[in-house]
Subunit: 346 residues, 2 copies
DNA sequence: TTGTATGCGTTATCAA
DNA sequence: TTGATAACGCATACAA
């Protein structure tokens, strides 16, 4: 009959798709059986004559029949879909977290719809608008504040990544930035550094890492204030380089610098060395994240390593609790402590 | 009535989730309106008294009502879900591709369910089993051969990433490995190299990169055969290092080496330098992929750069064609050519 | 402005 | 072994 169509309407593209997708009803009609029988054949149930089954399957194939996931979902409960919202898949930090989320979700038989917001507030909201309809729960990084999130969430459970308990009323998991910075700072101070700068990230609100840095500065009574902090535009190497240039101009006496993350720290190293400063002899550089990348650069990056994969898994666990109506994890259970990994840069 | 239940079973946890999710019917009953009115309120349609609407919304909130995505999907057509199957999200190559897929999908208003198979054949099949039910199309990297894929696909359209036209009957997009290797080889030969080795990846079948390498070897009449190729276990730096150790043992006279990808090439550099070979003076190293990472290592990696983001976008475009019943892209339109980026390692 | 009736495509229950 | 019938939860005509 396709041939007929072509003869009648020779202009129409040969592989023009059928207007409407075949339903179980169409298959039943073509095979000359009831819908129930089709269902049995397609779902490989017993209680069906092999011959009938073959005939039905053939009809299904001809019609390119595929059961509607919606209709199936209506009657079969149990398919769980989680939404994962990531600011930037190309920042190597996030794929690690995502891999953890995916793994944990897979173990539970959940599917994961991923959105990359490219660190854009509007896209965050759009992602939520979609996910609030299509997901049973959402986990992710967000810049929008609680109220906005709630508004676009329509009641879907949310687990925030790395937004502190006092910064949100949603359930959250994250990393204990303060504990990390404390270790890093102790390491630097132990090595004799006192004029220590920081390259902060520009996302989110002032952020716990900066606060922790400042707290440590006070604790160790360092000759350092807010003017020793420079903002990196973006969370990548380029941003770190540019920010480091500025910080070096502003604070040439600096002997050590904290990166908001490893990428920014690597940028700092590059900028410093380009200016003729040796790392770590003239300038110590400390990262934060513990990316694989840190072992590959020269000098290898000393960093506060954190278990990103576990963070992702933890987020899924938190979602599961929410769904089960249990109390969400809090405190040390939900906030992973970084671990100082001393390599060559500091 | 819930109160009744609780009185009878006082042991039940306070925050125990309701057994059954509230439906539009429950909300209607609680608000004392018809289901239709609830629908109007929830979907923000006009034609509803603000007061009624408020009452309905309140009832919905109390019941924690969220419309079933399945029921909604049944009646509202148009939600498209694509499946993306990735071998390893933690290999920085794939997040780049994924970002492209996500971006293109978002522009079309599609959602993307992501599966990380961790390069495991069985997990590939499981992913397909799920996606064949939950996705309208699938794009991804697979090790399983066509027949297996077809068997687990149940008729869902598939776009293969980087599986050559003669290796599959499915639609595909990928990179023109031969064109890339040709450029890379020409560059090395031009620099006087003739004893050139290769660190191949261990995934997939013998692979176009190896074939192209061998073809170029013949073309330039190099004193090189299969014994100059070593397999890297895994596609990461560690695999590259180990393979390079072996290759260096087997072919100490080698003056240049091709990496299957940038990660393996970086591993090769590290292994070579650890053995006291200077790069590129004693040994030239050529990568393949053009990861950002390559600019950060020392010496910076000369590589065959390819547009991973565009590859992802292209895959989505290919899916769209399939869905529209159009002819899939082929040839140069579907196979991106790498571009030689000369840096310091070769 | 609100309610009633109907259909969406599938599976499950039960009867034949 | 097969088929009729009833949900599943929502939205959309259409009627009130």
């Amino acid at each position: 009959m396709r041939a007929d169509e072509q003869q009648r309407e020779p202009v129409i593209h040969a592989s023009e798709a059928p207007r409407r997708r075949a339903t179980i009803h169409d298959v039943a009609k073509l095979a000359g059986v009831s819908r129930q029988t089709v269902s049995r054949a397609v779902n490989d149930k017993g209680e069906i004559d092999p011959e009938t089954k073959a005939r039905v399957l053939e009809a299904a194939r001809m019609l390119d029949y595929r059961p509607s996931r919606f209709a199936r979902g209506m009657v079969r409960k149990g398919t769980v879909t989680a939404g994962l919202v990531i600011p930037d898949l190309r920042n190597p930090f996030f794929p690690e977290v995502a891999a953890g989320v995916l793994e944990a979700a897979e173990q539970r038989g959940w599917q994961v719809v991923v959105c990359d917001t490219r660190t854009d507030d509007a896209r965050e909201r759009e992602a939520l608008d979609v996910l609030s309809h299509q997901a049973d729960a959402v986990v992710g990084y967000f810049k929008n504040d609680d109220d906005v999130l709630a508004r676009h969430l329509g009641g879907v459970p949310l687990v925030l990544l790395e937004r502190g308990p006092q910064q949100t009323r949603f359930a959250a998991v994250g990393i204990d930035a303060a504990a990390g910075i404390e270790q890093g700072m102790a390491h630097l101070v132990r090595a004799g550094h006192r004029r220590i700068g920081m390259l902060d990230g520009d996302r989110l609100t002032p952020g716990p890492r900066r606060a922790a840095f400042l707290a440590e500065v006070r604790r160790h009574a360092l000759p350092v204030d807010e003017s020793w902090i420079e903002l990196s535009a973006g969370h990548g190497v380029a941003g770190g380089e540019a920010a480091m240039e500025r910080l070096l101009d502003a604070r040439p006496e600096m002997t050590a610098v904290f990166g908001f993350n490893d990428l920014i720290a690597v940028g700092a190293m590059r900028a410093a060395r380009r200016r003729g400063r040796r790392v770590p002899e003239d300038l110590a550089v400390m990262g934060f994240d513990g990316l694989a990348l840190g072992e590959l650069v020269e000098p290898a990056l000393t960093t506060l390593h954190l278990d990103k994969h576990r963070l992702g898994r933890l987020a899924v666990e938190q979602v599961a609790r929410l769904r089960a109506g249990e109390e969400p994890l809090t405190g040390a259970d939900a906030w992973l402590a970084p671990e100082l990994v001393v390599r060559d840069s500091a």
